[in-house]
Symmetry: none
Subunit: 194 residues, 4 copies
């Protein structure tokens, strides 16, 4: 048999995650009902509950799986010297992570109000804070700090805000990264000047 039992084992489980993420990203968390997810997969609602304790737990499992790369990035960066080179590398890797899970990060960005008081919101905020602190120098000028933060948020916004710009996605991604890296460099220059 080509598809042995254990290959199938988590088949339904991950199909649920896939469909759920797609719908959460497209329609929002609240507007996506478990009925809808179940119908798309041609299973019953109860089947979802066999695999996930609650709706929130379903979202949590998706988020944990997909945002692991970001956590690794943070862990790595915290062991590096706080040089411009490190920060630039953080930005580059973050770009990879974001574009590797666009649905999830789109979801986070467009459902902030919802996410805020879900368990998941906490870890999301923590990640952003950790990244912020890796990029900005608390003793630098406020302008420099804002520039660093802008580098970070420009990447989030850049994922979806460039839809009215002509050009292929990879090119856009590169442009966004370039602008972000530049902001970082300027923030660093400020620091040196001061």
């Amino acid at each position: 048999m080509a598809t042995p039992h254990h290959a199938r084992r988590s088949d339904t489980r991950s199909r649920i995650q896939d469909v759920a993420l797609k719908l959460f990203a497209e329609q929002g968390y609240e507007k996506t009902s478990l009925r809808e997810i179940a119908e798309r997969l041609d299973v019953t609602k109860a089947a979802l509950y066999y695999h996930f304790k609650t709706k929130e737990d379903l979202l949590l499992s998706i988020s944990e799986d997909l945002s692991a790369p970001v956590d690794e990035l943070i862990a790595w960066a915290q062991g590096q010297p706080r040089t411009l080179a490190t920060k630039q590398e953080v930005l580059r890797r973050y770009s990879d992570a974001l574009w590797g899970a666009t649905d999830l990060f789109r979801f986070f960005q467009e459902n902030q109000a919802t996410v805020r008081d879900l368990a998941i919101g906490e870890s999301f905020r923590e990640r952003i804070t950790a990244l912020s602190e890796l990029l900005k120098e608390p003793d630098s000028s406020m302008t420099a700090q804002v520039r660093s933060l802008t580098a970070l948020f420009a990447m989030h916004a850049g994922m979806h805000a460039t839809q009215n710009v002509e050009g292929d996605p990879e090119e856009k991604r590169a442009a966004v990264l370039e602008v972000a890296l530049d902001l970082l460099a300027q923030a660093d220059a400020d620091l040196v000047t001061n």
Copy 2:
């Protein structure tokens, strides 16, 4: 009579709008029920329906009242020459508009998924698109375009993303604006160079 009919009429109406916006911004649109709004105001749900046709209509009325300044800004800008000075003025005025209605813009930012398929979403997107097109030059390099867009989105993000930065709000706002203006100037420099 000290309080004529028309003064009273809009009193309740605008109290509803105030409370609704506060709750929409704090908790999100879907998670805020009309029951909750009514309870806060110590009126019945039916009273809300006297003043507004639907929940969505309530949101619409809030948005229209508060985002008028942005529409005026766009109208004004569309009559001006496409110079850097104009663009910078757009950004300055936009900063005023945003900080003049933080709850509303926070709401828009944190409820994008929800807002997307409300009638209001359309006009929101149109405004952003209009502003984008006022700021970026479609024939400039992609990097320059991204820089212009980033100037715009930096202002949105800057409203709430600077909470971990020390300093008073006005100072932060100024710093955000400065960074945005700078991005715009760089985009313009690119254009000249090309």
Copy 3:
């Protein structure tokens, strides 16, 4: 008009209570669904929620209304001297209270497990404890105390346990009360003897 507005005001509300108590007593609390109650009344489930916050709250409201006489009895007794005459009067009045709300007390007796961890359980236990303490003397012999308690519980049991005995209800009630009064008298005699 024979039935003015305000007479109707609580009409639905108390019709709900009536039907609910009937079904709770007949079938048990858990086995009675709100759907069933609503259907009997030819209203929607949501109508129930207009009048009562939760299923438990519905039960609570019924219990509070119907067990007021018992609370009054307790309050009265606590102001009386701890004589045999008082205790006998307590039993007599309690008999009236029980037979005046048989459905409710049947419900309590047959749904103890359920009631135990509802808010209502607490007040039920408190009432029983208060009555126990009014009837038994903590310093008397254990047998005397058990006799007093038995007087109390005999009345509960007597409401439904006499169905296999021939005779009319009023006669049965009188017999149960007589036996209970007798137990009380014997407990008192013990006390004197000791």
Copy 4:
């Protein structure tokens, strides 16, 4: 093999019964889900279904095992003369039976509404009826009959109602039995007098 098949077979089976009875008694029948029972035993729900056809069947098996002594008692008594001595012996043995399976009888008492329309309810009622008929004389005065019934129900109530009385359990049990025996004797005296 040290542990033959049949020893193991009934091991799990009776562990299930033990846990189930404990939970049924503590929380009630409806509020105890098969999931919960399975989790406590660290087996799957399906395992329960290997041993018992349905949830009700599980309860039935418990009840049959534990209430065998009562059935034997009834069978024995039905072959004895209807003397006071016999009746007193019935009460004494019934006391043993009750205290030998407190969880089960507590369950019966606190879940009457539930039990009523389970198959088990029938046999429960039959046992009570049989005992009633062994104790009371249908031709005696109503008061005498109520006294006999009270003797019986006092034992049920006595199992849990004496928690607010000081003293050790065995002593309480003895006191309850004494009061019950006394009631029986009084009923018998009535009979003779009439």
